[in-house]
Structures are given as structure tokens and as C-alpha cells.
């Protein structure tokens, strides 16, 4: 390790001298080497500093970059929150599409039950199957909107028929033409309703 150093230091010295010298001049060698290393280290630090000073961006640019970084960080944080929320919603309402497609089947159950004679074997059978299916759907978060006689609420009702009916307060749902459904607390389908008008004004 010392040899190459010496060689470098002494320039044109011949190989024989170097080879001879390896054995006995350790202290001198090490001292010299330390000096050189120290010098080299100092040099390289200085160069690095100079280089860094040259490359370092203007303070303004620095601030701009930091600003942009902070904004990106904030954007990402918002994105993460939204992704979390969307994921939670996705799990909760994953069935929405399937259930929505199933609603016409429920409607047909309702219709067939309406038309069959109550107490009839056919009626009983359909009712049992309907109940079984309904239990499953209910367990998965489906809730019906099927109450008539309530004030019309456009959040859950869709008015399709309007009838003059002075016997009930104005804007009362007089009939449910097609049931509406909730999945958990999201409206899956509004109920199609008949609304009375021409009666006394609603209270409240």
C-alpha cells in the first residue's frame, strides 16, 4: 500500500529502490502518507463545497420547489382520504347494482301476490318464496319505501300521478304505485307515488 504512494511522490524513481525500501522506512512512510491523505481530504472537501455552491438553486427556486412539494403532499393526503372513503363506500354499497337489477323481480312478486286470491295455495306458495327472498335481501341492507298516507317527500318519492282529492291534505301520498327501496341509507330507487292536490294545506 505504501509503495504506490512513494512511487507517485518520487516521480521517476526506479522500481529497485522502491522494492528495497519496503522493509525499513515505515514511520517516515506513514507520516508522509498521512500528510498526503489529509491534503487530499481537504482538497476534495473544498472542491465539493465549491461544486455544491455552484449547483445550489437560487433561494427563490428552492422555495418554489418546497411549495410544490407541500402542495403535492396535501393533494396526496386528500386523495388518500378520498380513496379510503370510496373503499368503505364500495364495500357498503357493492351490492347496489345487483340489488337494483333484482328490484323488478320483487315488483313482480308484489304484483302476483296482489292478483292471487288470499288463502289460495298459489298465493301461499308465492308468499313463502317471496318472504324467503325478502329475508335475504333485508339482511343485506335493503329497506322498502311503501307507506301511503304520508306527506310527499321528493327525497324518496317520485310523483307520477296527481289527483284532485280534497279529503286529504294537499301533497299527501295517496297510493304507492311501485315500491321504493333503500340500501342502508342510500336511496336505491324512489317510490313511484300518486299525490293528492286540492285539499287543505299541509301542517308544518
Amino acid at each position: 500500500m505504501t509503495n504506490p504512494k512513494r512511487t507517485k511522490g518520487n516521480g521517476g524513481d526506479d522500481d529497485a529502490y522502491v522494492l528495497d525500501d519496503t522493509g525499513d522506512s515505515t514511520v517516515e512512510d506513514i507520516e508522509h502518507e498521512m500528510e498526503v491523505t489529509a491534503q487530499e481530504a481537504a482538497d476534495s472537501t473544498a472542491t465539493r463545497r465549491a461544486k455544491a455552491a455552484e449547483e445550489s438553486p437560487a433561494p427563490q427556486e428552492n422555495r418554489e420547489l418546497q411549495n410544490r412539494y407541500l402542495r403535492t403532499l396535501a393533494d396526496f393526503e386528500n386523495y388518500r382520504k378520498r380513496a379510503d372513503r370510496e373503499k368503505a363506500d364500495f364495500y357498503k354499497y357493492a351490492l347496489a347494482g345487483v340489488l337494483k337489477d333484482l328490484l323488478p323481480v320483487l315488483d313482480n312478486f308484489d304484483r302476483s301476490l296482489e292478483h292471487a286470491e288470499e288463502g289460495d295455495d298459489f298465493h301461499k306458495g308465492v308468499l313463502l318464496i317471496y318472504k324467503q327472498m325478502w329475508d335475504v335481501l333485508q339482511r343485506n341492507g335493503l329497506r322498502p319505501i311503501d307507506q301511503a298516507g304520508v306527506p310527499f317527500d321528493p327525497k324518496i318519492h317520485e310523483a307520477v300521478v296527481r289527483e284532485e282529492n280534497p279529503s286529504v291534505p294537499s301533497q299527501t301520498v295517496t297510493a304507492i304505485l311501485q315500491k321504493g327501496y333503500f340500501l342502508h341509507d342510500r336511496l336505491l330507487r324512489p317510490a313511484l307515488v300518486k299525490v293528492a292536490v286540492g285539499g287543505p294545506e299541509h301542517q308544518g
Binding site: 386528500n78 378520498r82 292536490v197 294545506e201
Partner: protein
């Protein structure tokens, strides 16, 4: 960075999107639907309903439910389009002092700009809810055939809704940019 909404303020339905990092993304409304009916309803209890909800009660409240206001925005009361519209629209249309038109709902008059602003406000609200931050800037599209007055009225509607309308761009241009 503050988000800028891109709004398609349509005759029947409106839609809003935002550039999410790199790609535009449509913002669903509170009911999870990607479009919102451009309908404004005024109830007996002077509540204002916007969107799907307003559409659902339209049949029980036809004189106080405003739709298709885009056909009237920025037009003069005396124009042919307005006289034609007056014959088919259930809500009342009256003349304003400057020759423009207004809709008259339950003894109050609303300009088409205000009605459009109600739709924009609703859009702004659910978009803010979705994004989790306030939004103050938007770009609104209009049909290519809209004249200066109709464009200005659309811009004013944005202003009433609390949106700084950075650009009004033509619908076909927007469609081309998106593809």
C-alpha cells in the same frame, strides 16, 4: 393546488368533472349519479330543491318547477325563441325592465342566470363535499352557437353561484379535448 371544476351546464342534465392528478374524473352527486338534472323546484314552504329531487316533484308542482332554462338564458323577452317557449313551458315567464326575461315563481322573480346559479351552487356543494376542499374556480361549457349575451349570462350565473368562471368553452371543443 386549488382544484378547478369543469362543468357541463346542460339543458336537461348537468355534469361536473375535475382533473384528478393527471386525468379528468367525473364527480358523482350525493345520490351517486354522474349527472344531475338541471331542474330547480320551489316548494310551498319556500324550500329550494335542485336536481333529481326537483325533478321527482315536478308533476305535483308544475308551475314552480323550472327546467330547460338554458333555452332562455341570455335571450330577450321579445325574441321568437322565448315566445315559442312561453307556449310550452308550465312556469311563468315575464318581461324584465331591461328587455330580458324572468321567471315568476310564487310572487318572486328569478332571472335565468339565478336559476342556472342554483344548479351550479348545488354542483359546487357536492363537488366540495366529494373533494374535501373548497372550490372557487370553474370552467363552463356552452353550445357553439351561443352568442355573446348568452355566454355572458352563463358567466354571470357562475359568479352568482360563487364560482370564478375562468373560461367559457364550446361544448364540441370540450368534447374534443377530452378524447
Amino acid at each position: 393546488m386549488p382544484k378547478i371544476l369543469g362543468i357541463d351546464l346542460g339543458t336537461t342534465n348537468s355534469c361536473v368533472a375535475v382533473v384528478d392528478v393527471t386525468t379528468p374524473q367525473v364527480i358523482p352527486n350525493r345520490e351517486g349519479s354522474r349527472t344531475t338534472p338541471s331542474v330547480v323546484g320551489f316548494t310551498e314552504d319556500s324550500d329550494r330543491l335542485v336536481g333529481q329531487i326537483a325533478k321527482r316533484q315536478a308533476i305535483t308542482n308544475p308551475f314552480n318547477t323550472v327546467f330547460a332554462i338554458k333555452r332562455l338564458i341570455g335571450r330577450k323577452y321579445e325574441s321568437d325563441e322565448v315566445s315559442r317557449a312561453k307556449q310550452v313551458l308550465p312556469y311563468q315567464i315575464v318581461s324584465a325592465s331591461n328587455g330580458d326575461l324572468k321567471t315568476k315563481i310564487r310572487d318572486r322573480e328569478y332571472s335565468p342566470e339565478e336559476i342556472s346559479a342554483f344548479v351550479l351552487m348545488e354542483i359546487k356543494e357536492f363537488a366540495e363535499e366529494f373533494l374535501g376542499e373548497t372550490v372557487t374556480e370553474a370552467i363552463i361549457t356552452v353550445p357553439a352557437y351561443f352568442n355573446d349575451s348568452q355566454r355572458q349570462a352563463t358567466r354571470d350565473a357562475g359568479k352568482i353561484a360563487g364560482l370564478d368562471v375562468l373560461r367559457i368553452i364550446n361544448e364540441p371543443t370540450a368534447a374534443a379535448l377530452a378524447s
